[in-house]
Amino acid sequence: MQEQELIPHLFRTEYSKITAVLCKHFGLAQLAIAEDIASDTFLTAAQTWPIKGVPPQPVAWLYSVAKNKAKNYLQRNNLFENKIVPQLKNNIPDLEGPGIDLSEQNISDSQLQMMFAICHPAIPAEAQVGLALRVLCGFGIEEIADAFLTSRETINKRLFRAKEKLRLEQVQIEFPGAVEINKRLDNVLTTLYLLFNEGYYSESQNSIVREDLCLEAMRLTYLLIENEKTNLPPVNALLSLMCFHASRLEARKDNNGEIVLYQEQDETRWNQELIAKGVDFLRRASGGNTVSKYHIEASIAYWHTQKRDTHEKWENILQLYNRLLQLEYSPIAALNRTFALAKANTMNDKTQAIMEAEKLALTNHHLYHALLGELYTGTDNAKAIDHLQKALALTKTTAGKNMLTKKIVDLEEKNSC
């Protein structure tokens, strides 16, 4: 790897580990300091490596520099006596002894515990995702702002408030007890799910950031699976879901990085290895007796790895959406369910599907109009065009706009014939 690529690469992989370990050591109230020391470590690397050359073991170098900086910081600021000791009465870290532990085990423990801390119920969901990106994935403020389609300032404010909240609530970096784990795990999974979706469905034009979001969400979910306390059925189901979706990451972008819609994708480019992994995690998720929404969504995603339109496929998808909606309503699930209904129950024309679609009354949603446009096509083309135009006005992505424009032009041509 070239030197100018090496530091950003290491930043992405090591920054969050260093931050998590330092933070565990100092306490979560000192999150900002942990982040500063981690950033500072990379600054030193960027300044010295070009002159002295890249050290033979760059990661070990970073860890030892981070450790020294942490020690210096503690000594220089007397933080140790004034702030840390009163907080850690029974658990005084020995700075000269084993000290800051950057072993593989402690890194993954610290990151897992950090995940549970960030997903504390006191922190709003949006801020949890932002914090996870910053602290657990080492994303820059710019990248986070880009992913959320918002400004740096907004993100800075959001992160600042979230950190304040962590401090005020005195959230600890520790594994919650067995009972608490299940309660907190829901939040953790929601955050990871949002993190993945942010990458998969983001309207941001930056496809590299989008993919990184997906991969980071998968890495963190895998961290949960590697720990026996959190290797639970819903976690496996969530990772299965992510694998199935991620199998299309390559096929869904063209040479210019633009999104290629599902129907237009070349399925030979779908990643079969990830699909097989998805099947494997779904099988592992089948232990236990609760069916989470991740189980259902993973099963739906499994059927979407079969591109061929069969009645079996759509009937299964329809029944899965029927169950998903009973568990948890969302407009997207409602729209997708109605699309599946149209595909599965077409024997008595499309009237039933149209009726059910109109009952959803999601008139501000571009997919609502796209769906009705699709369903009215062939039955009432004037109505179809009307809906497609409404969808076009509401949609934001280029791929979506192109597809809708093409459909409208096709229909107008047919109508004028």
Binding site: E315, L318, Q319, Y321, N322, R323, L325, Q326, Y329, A333, A334, R337, T338, L341, N345, E356, K359, L360, A361
Partner: protein, 120 residues
């Protein structure tokens, strides 16, 4: 928004129909419930199997336990769902779509669920 319970009364399907027919009814029921859930109007529900059913009745100062049926054969409760609706009329519109109503004499009873506010 209020909650209404939709109570299905019908014959034991397994006594009068083939497994294939039962499967069709099951799909229709799931699609009907899915349609309500897709409007964000579904609150909960359960099927009530006809086996392991008993009636405890107070007769002549004694509690008598009998196996089902529980009155008229078409009036046995086979399941229920709870929906969210602004009015009883809206709840009735949901009830009209219930596949149970394909059977002559079957019924869906619509009842408002009391709010635990001490008034209703």
């Amino acid at each position: 928004m209020d909650e209404f319970i939709l109570i299905f009364r019908h014959e034991d399907g397994s006594k009068i129909a083939s497994p294939e027919q039962m499967q069709i009814w099951m799909k229709q029921t799931m699609d009907w419930i899915g349609g309500i859930a897709a409007q964000n109007k579904f609150s909960g529900g359960n099927g009530l199997p006809f086996d392991d059913a008993r009636v405890v009745k107070h007769t002549n100062h004694n509690n008598i336990v009998t196996n089902g049926p529980f009155g008229e054969i078409k009036e046995t409760i086979g399941g229920y769902i709870i929906v969210k609706a602004d009015s009883v009329e809206e709840a009735v519109e949901f009830a009209k779509g219930c596949p149970v109503l394909q059977g002559e004499g079957n019924s869906v009873e619509v009842r408002k669920i009391s709010k635990k506010d001490g008034v209703h």
